[in-house]
């Protein structure tokens, strides 16, 4: 870190004349324009992050509540009745409430935390800073993107407080369950609010995504060719493309669902007798919704995962003091994953009565994704090989990400194979698989990003002792929770069962469920500790004293320690090289802004 001082702002030699008029303090800002309706990408990023953190606490808390039910089905918790009233009479979580909790847990974490909170945060903060732009292409739309997300949040939260409760059909909201108020309490007003909230969310995702794509394509600084972009930006770029292409499909599916619910159409409904009432609907297909949903739903998994992959690539390279291994292969595999993610959606539907031949095509395409994924893993491991590794909290989370991605990715090979999926479909195996690979792994990528770029965001460091504790407890906890859960799935235990006492086949894991519950409470407590660390460090953290604390090559570390709106004082630096010249020619790192020397070796 002693090299950290060796940043060379004076290297900047080019003059982009029309940029000269931009200065940090060039317009008067009030509290409202600076912190609330801000058009500064950095502030918007922080807004996404903090909203995401609040949502993560809510979503995480829900999981602790239903884990209590799963671990201690016979136990009564009077405090639950105090807080939730008739939803938890006698201190027992009612089934309707249990399903509302899991639905909200899934929706909140998948969309509000790991989509908006993760890519919303880091796309906003990193794109202009790493490509060398003053702000996003359309700062006003960018601001709207956050405020649509905020409105979506308000609507979703409001659904928690209505008499019939929030949506309770699972985060995938399959009709007819989600379409018929008679079939479930959660399918009454709560479901309409869910759809409205998601519609607002899609608008937010589209406004954001279009902005990210435009900025990356059009607003790169001089010399920043596409192949000189850090992998974070590439990952965010593919994420945005996936979002722009797939979210509208979800929206269309949800609008049809709204019609079926309220206008008497029959897109998804046919031949239904519910609660003794014969419905007039004929000719619809419940499976159509699943196609529309998973056409978003599968790319969504990669919308969550790709930004984490990008940040992990960057952080592994910086802290190994070594270039990322196989930049072009990393790029190619990102592209392959993004493309294939659109061609595999029906692997969620192997047991819906899907044509077996079609199923076999989806098996092939699904398992094909394992090839680019394997390339990424091998390249990450080779990046560590013969490095000189600094274990910052960010680096540890990045290593943890790779470990979890391997574990969760390999179980994906089980589920993507339709033959095995017949047995494992909708069991706890699926829960364990996607929590490891998409949930915890992406969270690890997000934590890595927060620890790494916190100094850039707030000009202070997070407390690293708390960071190390956070990492080790979460890492051990994640495996303790989800690894044994695979066995429940192998035993065929269906997911979304809150009480197994009436069954003969699924009662053997009582002790295990208790253990998982206890560990998840501890892990949740440690996340609260992280949140404490986060807010504490914003105000009281150790101050950053050098521009480039990690000795990093990328452009964001050439800005002032606390960059104002516009990011760079004076003109934007020109870029002369790729971002991964670490350990080259005996030098620890060579920033992107430094021109290629005459005697420099080629790679």
């Amino acid at each position: 870190m002693s090299d950290a001082m060796n940043v060379h702002p004076e290297v900047v030699t080019t003059h982009d004349v029309h940029h000269d008029e931009h200065h940090v303090h060039h317009h008067k800002e009030t509290f409202i324009t600076k912190y609330i309706f801000s058009q500064d990408h950095k502030t918007i990023g922080k807004q996404f992050l903090i909203t995401g953190i609040i949502w993560a606490i809510i979503g995480g808390l829900f999981s602790v509540l239903f884990r209590l039910q799963l671990g201690y089905p016979d136990q009564s918790f009077p405090i639950l009745q105090t807080v939730f009233g008739h939803w938890a009479e006698g201190g027992h979580i009612k089934p309707e409430f249990y399903y509302a909790l899991i639905t909200m847990h899934g929706t909140v974490l998948v969309f509000f935390v790991l989509t908006a909170g993760l890519s919303g945060t880091f796309a906003n903060i990193l794109i202009p800073l790493q490509v060398g732009a003053r702000d996003m292409a359309a700062p006003f739309l960018n601001m709207l993107s956050y405020w649509f997300f905020f409105m979506a949040s308000v609507v979703m939260i409001s659904s928690l407080f209505i008499q019939t409760g929030p949506a309770a059909g699972g985060w995938t909201v399959y009709p007819p369950l989600s379409a018929l108020g008679q079939a479930s309490q959660g399918s009454k007003l709560g479901m309409d609010l869910w759809i409205v909230s998601m519609a607002l969310f899609v608008v937010s995702a589209l406004l954001g995504g279009l902005n990210y794509i435009t900025t990356i394509l059009n607003m790169r600084t001089r010399g920043m060719s596409m192949t000189r972009l850090p992998l974070t930006i590439w990952a965010i770029f593919f994420t945005a493309v996936l979002g722009v292409l797939s979210f509208p499909v979800l929206l269309s599916g949800l609008i049809l669902l709204l019609f079926d619910r309220n206008l008497g159409t029959s897109f998804y409904l046919s031949d239904i007798v519910v609660n003794g009432q014969i419905l007039p609907n004929e000719g619809g297909s419940a499976i159509l919704f699943q196609h529309l949903f998973w056409f978003l739903g599968h790319p969504e998994v990669y919308i969550i995962l790709l930004p984490a992959m990008g940040m992990v690539s960057e952080i592994l390279s910086v802290n190994s003091r070594k270039p990322i291994f196989g930049y072009m292969a990393m790029l190619g595999s990102l592209f392959a994953i993004a493309t294939l993610s659109f061609l595999v959606w029906a692997h969620h539907m192997f047991v819906t009565g899907l044509n077996p031949f079609l199923g076999s095509i989806f098996v092939l395409l699904t398992l094909l994704i394992a090839v680019p994924s394997a390339i990424k893993v091998f390249n990450w491991i080779t990046t560590l090989w013969r490095g000189n590794i600094r274990f910052t909290p960010a680096m540890l989370f990045a290593i943890g990400f790779v470990s979890l991605f391997i574990s969760g990715g390999l179980t994906g090979i089980f589920l993507g194979n339709s033959t095995i999926d017949i047995h494992l479909h909708d069991t706890m195996f699926v829960v364990a698989h996607f929590h490891i690979v998409m949930g915890v792994a992406s969270f690890f990528g997000m934590f890595a990003g927060i620890y790494h770029w916190f100094p850039k965001m707030f000009g202070r460091y997070l407390n690293s002792t708390l960071g190390y504790i956070h990492f080790w407890v979460t890492m051990a906890g994640a495996y303790l929770i989800f690894w044994p859960m695979h066995y429940e799935g192998l035993a065929g235990m269906p997911r979304r069962y809150l009480d197994k006492s009436s069954w003969v086949s699924f009662t053997q894991f009582g002790e295990l469920d208790k253990m998982i519950t206890i560990v998840s409470i501890i892990v949740f407590a440690v996340q609260l500790m992280f949140v404490f660390n986060f807010f504490y460090s914003i105000f009281k953290g150790r101050k950053v004293t050098t521009k480039n604390p990690w000795g990093s090559n990328t452009l964001e570390w050439t800005t002032p320690i606390r960059p104002g709106h516009g990011n760079w004082e004076g003109e934007i630096p020109e870029v002369h090289r790729w971002p991964y010249d670490y350990g080259k020619d005996g030098r620890e790192f060579i920033p992107q802004t430094e021109p290629v020397g005459e005697n420099e070796s080629k790679h």
Partner: protein
């Protein structure tokens, strides 16, 4: 339980205060920042190695502890293929898991920061990248090959001699319908559903194939050992799923879109009781697709028995037609002639079917 809660909260409070204390301590050693950093680096490097060792031990321990609790031998012929596929996959992914996790943590430990070493500038190696593109591709080809082979075997058309049963899901239970002697499930229409008048699945009584169909709910489904059975699966209200863990089979029950699934039971319930040593053993039908508040208890049972036992059981069942039209039931007064009469009604049904064709 309360105490547990309190302990958890105390633990959290303790952690936070302790860490704040530690944080201030950290600030005090700030002067020696570089040495402190080197020390934490060493500690974390060691922890990574320890995590690898403990983790792999944990994986082994977990398997020892839990493998007895997962299902035993598959109770269906198709399930045997599924288990084989599962073991092939476990073997291949297990090797990959070990190699990559060990490499990841070992490299992290081995190449931790040291003043003596300089990082090796190694941006790419095309040969290596081709190798680790081709090897996973080959492994996956094997998996896809086996997978699709078994998949087509399992999802192929049911054999001609397969027994036929209709399974209908509803909130929250299962209904079963046997086709009777004619082997044909009579036509039905959902708007005919009228449980009050003994027509719970909406059978069209004009269709003679319906006259001998046997319907029941809340009782076990009976199957014959070593005889293929084809389930025609439907739902009355929302999507359910017929999950048969011991047979390793699963198929959604979708309203408006009938699905099918077939399999061959290998063991009778009695044999399974002996094999598992569990006198309470029973084949269970679980609903595997979230279907509302009663999802968790949407349970059905299956009895697998020999052909003789099955025949005896079937003979004691009455077609639903007679429940709907008691006056048409010729057996009501004289119980002994059940077989003879239903045989004749079946033959008339068959001849009528032929004439309509």
């Amino acid at each position: 339980m309360q105490t547990f809660f309190i302990i958890a909260i105390l633990l959290l409070g303790f952690l936070i205060t302790f860490q704040i204390a530690k944080a201030s301590e950290y600030v005090s050693i700030l002067r020696g920042e570089e040495t402190a950093r080197k020390q934490t680096n060493k500690i974390n490097g060691f922890m990574l190695l320890a995590f690898l060792v403990l983790g792999l031990t944990g994986v082994y321990y977990c398997n020892e502890k839990l493998r007895g609790k997962v299902l035993g031998e598959s109770a269906s012929v198709q399930g045997v293929s599924i288990d084989t596929m599962l073991f092939i996959t476990i073997a291949i992914t297990g090797v990959v898991f070990l190699i990559t996790q060990i490499a990841l943590f070992w490299f992290a430990y081995k190449y931790q920061a040291s003043d003596k070493r300089k990082a090796y500038y190694y941006p790419h190696n095309n040969k290596l990248e081709v190798i680790w593109t081709v090897i996973p591709a080959i492994a996956l080809t094997v998996l896809v090959g086996f997978g699709i082979f078994y998949w087509f075997k399992i999802t192929s058309e049911a054999p001609k001699d397969a027994m036929l049963v209709e399974v209908t899901g509803k909130q929250f239970g299962w209904e079963f319908r046997y086709p009777g002697r004619d082997g044909i499930l009579g036509k039905k229409y959902f708007k005919n559903i009228d449980p009050a008048n003994n027509n719970p699945v909406g059978q069209i009584w004009d269709d003679p194939a319906n006259w001998d169909d046997i319907w029941f709910e809340s009782k076990p489904l009976h199957l014959v050992v070593n005889k293929p059975v084809k389930l025609v699966i439907g739902s009355k209200d929302v999507i359910h799923d017929v999950g048969l863990v011991h047979f390793r089979m699963k198929m959604d029950a979708v309203p408006g879109t009938p699905t099918t699934m077939w399999f061959t039971p290998r063991f009778t319930t009695k044999q399974m009781i002996e094999k598992t040593g569990n006198p309470r053993f029973v084949f269970e039908i679980s609903c595997d697709q979230l279907c509302g508040k009663g999802h968790t208890g949407m349970r059905g049972e299956i009895v697998v028995e020999t052909q003789e036992e099955f025949d005896r059981w079937l003979a004691s069942q009455k077609p639903q037609y007679y429940a709907a039209f008691p006056d048409k039931d010729p057996t009501a007064p004289q119980k002994d002639s059940v077989n003879a009469i239903s045989k004749t009604s079946a033959t008339t049904a068959v001849t009528q079917m032929k004439t309509t064709n």
